[in-house]
């Protein structure tokens, strides 16, 4: 098995935030913490693009490199996880992460910073698989249930792909080759209208 990876297809993402909702619901993520977010570029302008962003489980993770207490580890499947019992909530990882993945729940009053929380690729954490302790600290361990991350499985347009890097890359490549570009894309005429030439033929 290769490494577990996410890919988001910007041509398909419709900014419905279904992935964000699925993640929050699956792991009962506390208020104010978003393990996954949808980012839109040129919002409201024709041709706007959206992508769903969370921890990208980097092969050379900057969060892992800067953590002063070494709470991060990488699983055999390439998923970057951390131990909340070791984390001191310093926030260095959030400065280092280029995707803004680390989140800090405000568990107490006025700026008290909780332990870091982030996407686990639905792989739980360093507690017994499927245990209550794992669920409360890290969320559900769907990988150990033989499932893929909830965000990708719930994506209505299948824009967000998750799984073995080789498999999702093949799915994405096949999709890009088949759909073509511009007016070749299915639904283009419905969305943007078709040009009619002098003879009345549609192109």
């Amino acid at each position: 098995m290769a490494r577990m990876k996410f890919i988001c297809d910007a041509e398909r993402c419709i900014e419905c935030n279904g992935c964000v909702t699925a993640c929050k619901n699956e792991h009962e993520v506390p208020w104010g913490v978003n393990r996954r977010r949808v980012v839109t570029l040129n919002d409201g302008v024709p041709g706007e693009r959206s992508i769903s962003v969370a921890c990208m489980h980097c092969s050379d993770a900057p969060c892992m490199a800067v953590c002063p207490v070494n709470c991060f580890y990488r699983t055999e499947e390439g998923v970057v996880l951390h131990d909340k019992d070791v984390c001191i909530g310093c926030g260095y990882c959030s400065y280092a992460c280029p995707f803004g993945a680390p989140q800090f729940p405000s568990a107490g009053t006025f700026g008290v910073r909780g332990k870091m929380d982030k996407c686990t690729f639905c792989a739980g954490g360093p507690e017994a698989n499927g245990s209550q302790a794992e669920f409360e600290k890290y969320g559900r361990n769907r990988l150990a249930e033989g499932k893929l991350p909830a965000c990708a499985e719930m994506c209505s347009t299948k824009a967000l792909l998750a799984g073995d890097g080789d498999v999702v890359a093949d799915i994405f490549r096949n999709r890009v080759v088949q759909r073509g570009k511009g007016a070749e894309v299915w639904g283009w005429g419905t969305a943007y209208g078709s040009k009619t030439d002098a003879k009345g033929a549609k192109s």
């Binding site: 019992d85 360093p126 990988l143 033989g146 792909l161 498999v167």
Partner: protein
């Protein structure tokens, strides 16, 4: 002469004390290391939530289950064509 001997003794005692100073230092290794995390193919032991198409503990069947699930759930081209 005796004062010189006393001086030399004092200096050597100081060096010895300086040499022993490190013995009182606390270890500075990282206090916490991540706990052991069981591999996902070992399963959760909770049958209700586990998909039935693979066997817990069998890495190959688990990997195959995820590949099949990715193809069926995410590759709409193979489903529609």
């Amino acid at each position: 002469m005796s004062s010189l001997k006393r001086m030399a003794g004092l200096v050597s005692a100081l060096f010895l004390m300086a040499g022993l100073a490190a013995c009182g230092d606390k270890a500075q290794e990282l206090a916490g290391q991540p706990k052991f995390d069981a591999a996902p193919y070992t399963g959760t032991g909770v049958q209700v939530f586990t998909t039935s198409d693979w066997k817990a503990g069998d890495k190959n069947s688990w990997a195959l289950q995820l590949k099949t699930r990715a193809q069926y759930g995410q590759n709409d081209h193979t489903r529609s064509n």
